[in-house]
């Protein structure tokens, strides 16, 4: 349970970090909070040649709300700081709720928001929250800076749109004022990864749902957006029949795998219950 030998450096600028990552011979990997990477190092599942610690790059260490009302969270911002940020709690309560499900407070003091997103464990909470909140991802690399929408960012288990020579520098959450939301998850113990989890964001016009975003985690290699369930809710006032229709539609789009933690049947059954509860809660919150 000790890491293999590696080099380490903590550059002060993004340019220095990118130069190190671009050198293929170094076999470099980015580290921020390390709360997913260091267990993998300890178990020797990861054997990098060089760790590039990005937490001492000043421009990555802050979060802010821009003039358009979008929330920017830099790559070195710890989960605990985002969770406690009054601007996050007021404007993006779903994000704050998802953060509270990550590990334990002792983990969230070190772990970063962007680190969890770039690591992309399919049972993790933040990728699902990011897709539900329509986040976008700013990626810097030797070919310049590009912005990738959440729908294209998560590629497969532990794989994202970030290439080996690139750094996820910030995640941007667009303003979502006055929306209903809910984040529900089932885990065997508090702080564990989700066996299955559901994020719902609703917008309301009069007595009916105007728009909906419903995303499920723990049900595949990437967060699953359940478009058919969303369509089943739009135009309704989230009465029990509408919720039942949304759940039926969702189950048609869910094909989770059996694994050591739960069977596919158990995951589907749990997702159905969580989704029904989340739809109702989100609707109540948009009233």
């Amino acid at each position: 349970m000790k890491p293999t030998p590696f080099d380490y450096t903590a550059p002060r600028t993004l340019t220095d970090a990118l130069a190190l990552l671009a050198d293929e011979e170094r076999d470099a990997k980015v580290i921020a909070g390390g709360q997913s990477l260091i267990p993998m190092l300890n178990m020797r599942l990861a054997r990098p040649g060089l760790l590039v610690d990005i937490t001492r790059i000043p421009e990555l260490g802050s979060s802010h709300v821009d003039a358009a009302g979008a929330l920017h969270i830099g790559a070195a911002v710890r989960q605990h700081r985002a969770e406690a940020d009054p601007a996050v709690r007021a404007g993006w309560p779903l994000l704050a709720a998802a953060l509270a499900h990550i590990g334990h407070p002792q983990i969230r003091r070190r772990g970063t928001v962007c680190g969890s997103l770039a690591h992309h464990d399919p049972a993790a909470e933040l990728p699902t929250a990011a897709l539900a909140l329509d986040a976008s991802f700013v990626i810097a690399g030797p070919r310049g800076t590009r912005t990738v929408p959440a729908a294209e960012f998560f590629v497969a288990t532990f794989q994202t749109a970030v290439d080996a020579d690139e750094v996820l520098t910030e995640v941007v959450f667009p303003a979502a004022p006055g929306r209903g939301w809910a984040f529900e998850e089932l885990a065997r113990r508090h702080g564990d990864f989700a066996t299955v989890g559901v994020a719902v964001v609703l917008d309301r016009a009069g007595d009916a749902v105007r728009s909906a975003r419903i995303v499920c985690c723990g049900a595949g290699p990437v967060p699953v957006r359940l478009h058919s369930a969303e369509e089943a809710l739009i135009g309704t006032s989230v009465a029990p029949e509408a919720v039942a229709a949304a759940v039926c539609a969702a189950l048609a789009g869910l094909d989770p795998a059996d694994d050591v933690h739960a069977t596919a049947t158990y995951r589907r059954e749990s997702a159905a219950h969580l989704l029904a509860r989340a739809c109702t809660t989100a609707w109540e919150r948009c009233s």
């Binding site: 349970m1 000790k2 380490y8 390390g34 178990m43 760790l51 610690d53 334990h104 407070p105 070190r110």
Partner: protein
Amino acid sequence: MTSTTPVPTSTPTVRTPPLTEPSGWHEIRLTVNGEPVTAPVESRLLLSDFLRDRLGLTGTHVGCEHGVCGACTVLLDGEPVRSCLTLAVQCEGAELRTVESLAPDDAPLTDVQRAFHECHGMQCGFCTPGFLMTTTALTDRPERPGATEVADALSGHLCRCTGYRNIRRSVGRALDETYGECAK
């Protein structure tokens, strides 16, 4: 290493060293239990092993080495973190507190330690240093943390002996002594 100097409560000035060439060894400077420490460390050295093997601070216990059990929890710049999920080299300029700082040498037990003693908040004691450091952080706040926050903090620690009831009583007692008794 034992410290008799009072533990500073303010955050020390963080040095900004120049960019070092990537290497397998680094000289780190940090504060441990109030004392300045300078040491060469291998990049891969975990903070838990640095404290135990290099500084002889064996009060920090190592249980699972992947962040699950909480026995190795220490305070890094006043915040409880897993020392098994932190590289020593990442602690350049940091202020660390381990369980040895609570009652160094013959100093009387802190309120937190006394509460665990009086409420029997331990059996074998392996998990206790972690619980003590998380609880110490809970008693260092400007205001008493709420019951949900306390439960959340304690959920980051495993104890295989006690069933947690006495640990929760101990933490409750420590919070009462720090902030005054309040409605539970």
